[in-house]
Symmetry: C3
Subunit: 159 residues, 3 copies
């Protein structure tokens, strides 16, 4: 009877654990910080690095958030094609020119460009991979006046 009690108790515990495992056990948070040396006005492709981080997270299904630290840098998800990047730079130069006189003398155009492109983006994760279109890469822009080391935080939430 003691043995029966023990087995019964173990059975119940294991059952509860299985039920909990089914619904919950897979939700996790994982993050890594990337450091990059980026030239002024350049876009640095981090798609491979993000894919590796998602792989290391072992998360199969969820969201990957990219955040660029610093008010003169941005996250862009688009096609990494040199001539297109040049066109985008030309367009940003037209909107917030390096030559213009600003109230914030040092690097206003850097901050304005970063405000338009934005500090963060999210990408869904499915089957352990970021879901990107054929012509979508993840890039970090350094809009500052000088070449700089930039920090990017990649966070993965999911199961």
């Amino acid at each position: 009877m003691n043995l029966t009690t023990a087995f019964y108790s173990l059975h119940i515990t294991a059952l509860y654990k299985l039920i909990l495992l089914d619904f919950l056990i897979l939700i996790m948070i994982y993050n890594e910080t990337i450091k990059l040396k980026i030239k002024s006005q350049d876009f640095f492709d981090i798609t491979d690095k993000v894919e590796s981080i998602v792989k290391r997270s072992e998360i199969q299904n969820g969201i990957c958030t990219i955040f660029s630290v610093g008010g003169t840098s941005s996250v862009l998800i688009n096609e990494n094609e040199p001539m297109l990047i040049q066109d985008l730079k030309d367009c940003l130069e037209k909107i917030a020119s390096e030559e213009k006189i600003y109230h914030h003398a040092e690097n206003a155009y850097s901050h304005i460009r970063a405000s338009f492109i934005g500090s963060s983006q999210n990408i869904p994760v499915k089957d352990g991979k970021v879901v990107l279109g054929t012509w979508q890469s993840i890039m970090i822009a350094n809009f500052d006046v000088d070449n700089r080391e930039r920090e990017v935080v990649v966070t993965v939430v999911g199961e």
Copy 2:
């Protein structure tokens, strides 16, 4: 005494389960992919579709992430009013004109417009519904030169 042991053990197990349930059991991930045929330069309203997905997710409290697959499309959360959309198109045409000569010959203006509006947005979920202002709709823009089928991934994280 055997019976006491069994009851005691069950009581402890149930208690632990209740404690765990209170804090955890509700965190879930849910996603669906929407396919849409969108005309060139049009904005397609997906508010109803997103609301249905959030309902099917059964998540009451959390975040809903919208991601548009492809470098020539964007997610916009704003008022879906035809004359306003025309004004926005006029503004995008001024910034990245269809008529201009670009280095990336095929569709540079499509990519540039998409870079400005952005690939992803997040909306909070409360009481099982996305929290949107009276004049906020969720729209997908197809900035490409042709009408295209676009894919949008909607992910809901929460409890």
Copy 3:
């Protein structure tokens, strides 16, 4: 022997609980809504408020999502320096001028500015704090034609 059974059962239960705690117990969702009176075209700094919300959430590691309710307001993560904000306003005025004639007569420029800056941003949370660069503040812009009370939903997901 009864006592042995009871101890064994308790030991197993506690062990399972510890295993579950290690992997799961910390994933939580927390949100608060902030109400702000913001003058037309002003940027209101909410960094302190967001930091307090993250502290109250007791989440150490995760993501903080900021969403601005309403199609004429935006979330901006950038440097809160008055002269820079003036430069950004000048740039937005150039892109979507108050003086221009629009199809959507009331406040098209408000919606267009909001579309460019965007409705939501994510910031990573580490060691119980939002990860922001030295010159990064979280601001809410009210682009509407009038001073308005704006609502901002701050959601924290993590462990």
